[in-house]
């Protein structure tokens, strides 16, 4: 993404400005950002790291396209937005790298969407109990009861 101000350098800062009571966001390069906001240092944003990464020359990327929505990886590189959930599967090889770049980690370790299949659910309950995540286990048990009740 090019800097919205000079239109020459790559944007690496997300800049917010209030105009007429409306917050406008634009991507700026480091020097324009420094000129626009000399007083306050706001720091780098994950969006900035994403664009910095996507803006760097691609090396040996596969020509790949998501079959579900038609988005190609090169289109994603330009806009930084994925087309649908299946894009993650279509670009699986690349996504690990993209996510690692943005989050400094590419593996999820938070809340999990509980499975819908009762057998998988029972396994997830055992796992939660083994990990002493009793609140999570109770939540999964409630879900199992509801599914079995349907």
């Amino acid at each position: 993404m090019l800097c919205a101000r000079c239109r020459k350098n790559e944007a690496s800062f997300l800049y917010q400005k209030l105009v007429e009571g409306r917050v406008l966001e634009s991507g700026l390069c480091a020097s324009c950002h420094a000129e626009e906001s000399p007083g306050v240092y706001i720091g780098d944003s994950p969006l900035a790291s994403l664009f910095a990464y996507l803006g760097a020359p691609a090396q040996g990327k596969r020509r790949v396209r998501c079959e579900a929505c038609g988005l190609s990886f090169s289109e994603f590189r330009k806009c930084g937005r994925l087309g649908c959930a299946r894009c993650y599967d279509a670009f699986a090889g690349e996504m690990d790298e993209v996510l690692a770049q943005v989050h400094a980690c590419s593996r999820h370790s938070g809340k999990c969407l509980p499975p819908r299949d009762p057998k998988e659910l029972a396994r997830a309950i055992e796992k939660a109990v083994a990990a002493e995540s009793f609140e999570e286990a109770a939540r999964l048990r409630d879900r199992l009861k509801r599914i079995e009740g349907d």
Binding site: G39, G43, H103
Partner: protein
Amino acid sequence: MLRYKMGWARPDGPEHAVVLSSRVRLARNFDDRPFPPRAADAELRAVLKSVFDAASKTRLRDAARISLADITPLERGFLVERKLISWGHASEPAHRGVLVGERDAASVMINEEDHLRLQNIDSGLCLDRLWREASAIDDDFAELLDFAFRPEWGYLTCCPTNAGTGMRASCLVHLPGLTATGRIESVLRSLDRLGVLVRGLYGEGTKVIGDFYQVSNRTALGRSEEEIVDSVTGVVRGLIAKEREAREELSGGDRKTRLEDLVYRSLGLLSHARLLTYEETMRHLSYLRMGLALEWKLPADLTTVNELLVLSQPAHIQMLAGKPLEERDRDFLRSTLLRRKLSGATEA
């Protein structure tokens, strides 16, 4: 619409002298539908209907269901200022919507960049409670809708910066003391290493308006929601301590008169001016708020000031007038509102 009560502006949350509000947002998407920026009208319509229908079986069953296309641009601006929708969401109203729970405490933006953006917001520093509440609403919807999730990457989102937990935990903090002592820049710089993102609300030119900053988690993947909440809360607690120190320093010894002068000038200006821009109002409400947070005996109270921070915004002023207004007319009406709200007290 003006009658909607917003709980988050009440000055009764934990640490409210420095933290105005906390907010937890979770991004969720359907597994089998294109993300909104790439979706055709029919897809967007189907998503909006599914979410509205599902809501009636969740704990948001009594929430107001608003289709953005059914309301005026001014009303959409009002919802933005209430933090219920984003400007991006308001600018493309077709097949977009929002669910608004009681007191604005819980809401869901539909078809913004992601299919659902669940939001819980309240006054003061309370991210852990908000996370639990948002998670319970998420559980309700997850029973009814097929959310996009992969065990390795977590919840999938339109922009990879939100993937994983899909969570943004943020606090709106008021740091006039650190600004007045000139320490704000070094303090913000030191936060950079702590995995948080700080955003100010910029005015025309360069200055952050009203010394309000939003502190949020920088990344959403790789840490659990509880870890994210703990880390943002920890950083905000550190900021509270530094801000309190700065305020104490400013209100002691020789500097006290200077600070009093600043606060009373602001009070005078807000209670007597005849034309007030939004920026000027925010700047002076900020000083007044600092005086009140220091528990000075001022002829105003925190509830009124917090309320005015919200009511002074451009769309709110126009909603008060019941019609769109030119900038000068807004400035006039804003000054009238401020005079009225502050006058009873200042004449006493």
